[in-house]
Amino acid sequence: MKVFAFSKRNDLEILRDPLNLFFGVGFPLVLLILMTAIQKNIPVQMFEIERLAPGIVIFGLSFMTLFSATLIAKDRGSSFLQRLYTTPLTAGGFILGYLLPVLPICIAQSVICFAMAVILGLKVTVHILTSVLFTLPVALLFVSLGLLCGSIFTDKQVGGICGALLTNLTAWLSGIWFDLGLVGGAFQKIANLLPFVHAVEMERAVLRGDYAGVFPHILWVMGYAAAVTGIAVFAFLRQMKRQ
């Protein structure tokens, strides 16, 4: 009940910010429509809806880091969190309260993106549903990154780091917009060491029903999600102690 009350507040704070709605839902949808229009005029395999939609879903999830980190950093910057620290809500309650409410938002965002992809020509199969489910470890990764950044940066720093840097890293190093093999070399090696391209490849494999193809990508994603969650919990507890 205590965690639920805090989670509900966090959900409302995120969903009632019009900028969050624009970047979380509007922007990915605009990209999806725009790229599909380009694909119709200049056909490129990269932007076929079956390849594009999973990429946009993952790219959209990267904004959840920004939303989550901004909320936490703002709470830390004001006396609001201090007030809550004097209540019986435990450290675990705070962490769950920040992590859990964003996950349903991530699922909703994925559903909306796939729904738009269907309107734009994506064939309706059961694999769309499983693709939505497979976004969960990716969502956990991005939301935990939000907890981590929100615990160590100010809200202004979060804007630059999560709003600009992370979304660009996700865009450039994920193979959504171009084939990483075309660049090759160190760029491709670095991209393959990061989770973004694996998240996109995992989603693409699930959407085409190639469940064997999710490996090894899912291991990268889950490994990163577990590691980042662990570090984020440590960082949050540390700042809580400092407060």
């Binding site: 507040r9 009632r16 006396s79 609001f80 620290y85 209540t87 019986p88």
Partner: protein, 242 residues
């Protein structure tokens, strides 16, 4: 049993001693103001008493419970209205109150009753569906205190409750704070001397982390040999060697 009792309570940050061997007793139902210039140690004292920061040494008991070893019991008995207006801006007045009741673990029925009672008491009924971030400073402060009271605390900490408010809003808040007297123990920090004089049963004056003097406003004035409270405060702080 005293509401608050500190024994040689000390907080050190590297080279700085923020609170130095504080021995303070606050009786139940009393409204005590902590006074001092910036850096006197008021906020650090409140942070220690509310469990936000750990003392370097010494002990403190709230309603007989040790703040270090019985922090859960202490947290259930206290509430804080911080210096800044600590409200969730995108939540309505009612939702802010629901949040505070929720994190204290009240049932849905209890929450309903408490919100209705507080909205009536603090005149919040007409704005209960308005977002907190859209309220004026005075109304936000009013909501902030209502949020602190939703758990029926036995000890309430009010940190600079009227800072930055206009005369009318301040006067209204004073009335609300006066209405709390006797019902719970209130610890108030303020820079406004007239506020401390008007509201306090007793006053504690701090300087450089040390407690200089405690007493009723009349005793403080008598001690300093003046009939003006702000003058008494300045004299006591200026003359103190710590």
């Amino acid at each position: 049993m005293d509401a608050i009792k500190t024994v040689d309570l000390t907080k050190k940050y590297k080279d700085l001693t923020a609170v130095d061997g504080l021995n303070l007793t606050v009786r139940q139902g009393e409204l005590m103001s902590l006074l001092g210039v910036n850096g006197a140690g008021k906020t650090t004292t409140i942070k220690m008493l509310t469990g936000l920061t750990k003392p370097t040494s010494g002990e403190a008991y709230l309603l007989g419970k040790n703040i270090m070893t019985e922090s859960e019991a202490v947290k259930s008995a206290i509430a804080v209205s911080p210096q800044e207006t600590a409200v969730a801006p995108n939540l309505t007045v009612k939702e802010n109150l629901e949040l505070m009741a929720g994190v204290h673990g009240f049932s849905k029925d209890e929450i309903k009753v408490k919100i209705s009672e507080l909205c009536k008491r603090f005149d919040l009924k007409n704005i209960e569906n308005k977002r907190a971030g859209k309220l004026s400073g005075g109304w936000q402060r009013r909501l902030s205190i209502a949020m602190a009271l939703i758990s029926d605390p036995r000890i309430l900490f009010l940190d600079e409750p009227t800072l930055g408010l206009d005369v009318l809003a301040r006067s209204e808040l004073w009335d609300m704070i006066r209405a709390l007297k006797g019902k719970m123990t209130v610890i108030l920090t303020t820079h406004y001397m007239e506020e401390a004089e008007a509201l306090s049963d007793r006053v504690a004056i701090m300087k450089s982390g040390r407690l200089l003097l405690t007493g009723t406003p009349a005793e403080i004035k008598a001690h300093a040999g003046t009939d003006k409270f702000d003058e008494a405060f300045v004299r006591i702080v200026k003359e103190a060697v710590v």
